[in-house]
Subunit: 244 residues, 2 copies
């Protein structure tokens, strides 16, 4: 068994309104590659958001008093802070210049996923896709691969450095449930549920990063059980969440 | 550029006191493989701990009052709870049957990294290696590959499912610092520090899990800057930690 992770190398810069799956298919043709049902395609959120027009123009945003104060205190753009608050369903932490929020989708991340870099213009900021599972499903249908993962780059409590995680999944279970399987000693691995979509996103991130500007990654040789997908099982329920 | 992730498939069951690098070298010979300076080897904590004898016998442990009470309340083994408390430098959360602790090494994880499954016997529990960076350095020297990552499987706040992370690193920087590099639009990617050792651990985890019982993974095709290593840069300083 060998897992192979390869970037799509000739994808052009993606612009607002571009048909992303068409751009991917054209790049595949240029690179003389084909996708099969055994392939997983990981796509960085930034190109999904761009193609879907999930972009906000900061010039249209009127900062609230909270946004203006926080921005002044931490030397941030008050319009950007207001946009982050607008994209938040709940503020988890707001301390020392860091804003950790729960998005409408249920992701807990810095700045509610709002990203000013890569937006194409300093007055623009990229938002998370409206429905990342839907984006993944659409790409899956249009590309004809086996599964699609939309990835984003998140920080973590306690550990420095960002990692890529899944924010949208189609064609596979986001979690791989090993409960009930036994270890080598016959002990039941009672609590082993692996965040397989997140592990795949992290693996894809290795190739995205090294080949700067390669937001589409093809993963081959990984076996998984076919399933409709969806990121919901990854999002911890409030009553289970010790770090709410 | 293609990253390849392959498990070592003929490593035998590792026992206390085994010479792990010798077992790995023998398996490499059996599989007609060689390691080069371009290869990264990821090794699961459980076999490192076993080979180093980082195993506790629960029969020798006298539960404290706190351990006994908590165990009774949550139907756990009081000796195991006491062992977890003994392995903890600080309790981060102790709620609803879950114990999240900071270990002596500075890792924040469930049960202070104590693992009763895979220990080989219900009276035994695996502990984290005494010095995971040292374990990685020793393996690096003995295997002659380019880098070694000792991995463990951690849960996360807010997200269900476990992911593999690095707990010991040799031969590379645990963090890949992209600060100062510019994105396609010329904007400085000011805060992009990628937890590359954690991403490699997650990628290795895909192969460890699928080939159950393959705790040693070879990663080829990933390029990195040589460095002594060490996990310390990943451990967030208390004054930066919003979830302490």
């Amino acid at each position: 068994m060998r897992i192979e992770i390869e970037p799509l190398q000739t994808l052009p810069e993606v612009h607002r309104g571009d048909n992303l799956s068409e751009l991917i298919r054209e790049a595949l043709v240029r690179e003389q590659r084909t996708l099969s049902g055994a392939d997983i395609v990981a796509v960085a959120q930034k190109v999904v958001s761009k193609s879907e027009g999930a972009v906000a123009d900061l010039r249209t945003i009127q900062p609230s008093q909270l946004a203006a104060q926080w921005a002044a205190q931490w030397k941030k753009d008050p319009r950007l802070i207001e946009l982050i608050l607008m994209q938040s369903k709940r503020i988890v932490k707001m301390d020392r210049g860091v804003l950790v929020a729960e998005t409408r989708h249920g992701f807990v991340c810095a700045n509610a996923g709002v990203d000013q870099s890569n937006a194409g213009n300093e007055n623009l900021a990229l938002l998370l896709p409206n429905d990342p599972d839907g984006s993944a499903r659409r790409l899956l249908g249009e590309l004809g691969c086996g599964a699609v993962i939309v990835t984003d780059t998140f920080g973590r409590p306690w550990r420095e450095g960002l990692v890529d995680v899944a924010i949208g999944v189609a064609g596979m279970h986001a979690l791989d449930d090993h409960r009930g399987r036994v270890d080598r000693d016959g002990r039941t691995l009672s609590s082993t549920i692996v965040a397989v979509a997140d592990q795949l996103a992290a693996a894809a991130g290795l190739a995205m990063r090294k080949a700067e500007g390669c937001p589409v990654i093809i993963i081959r040789g990984f076996e998984w059980e076919r399933a409709p997908g969806g990121i919901a099982p990854v999002l911890r329920a409030p009553e289970q969440d010790l770090f709410r």
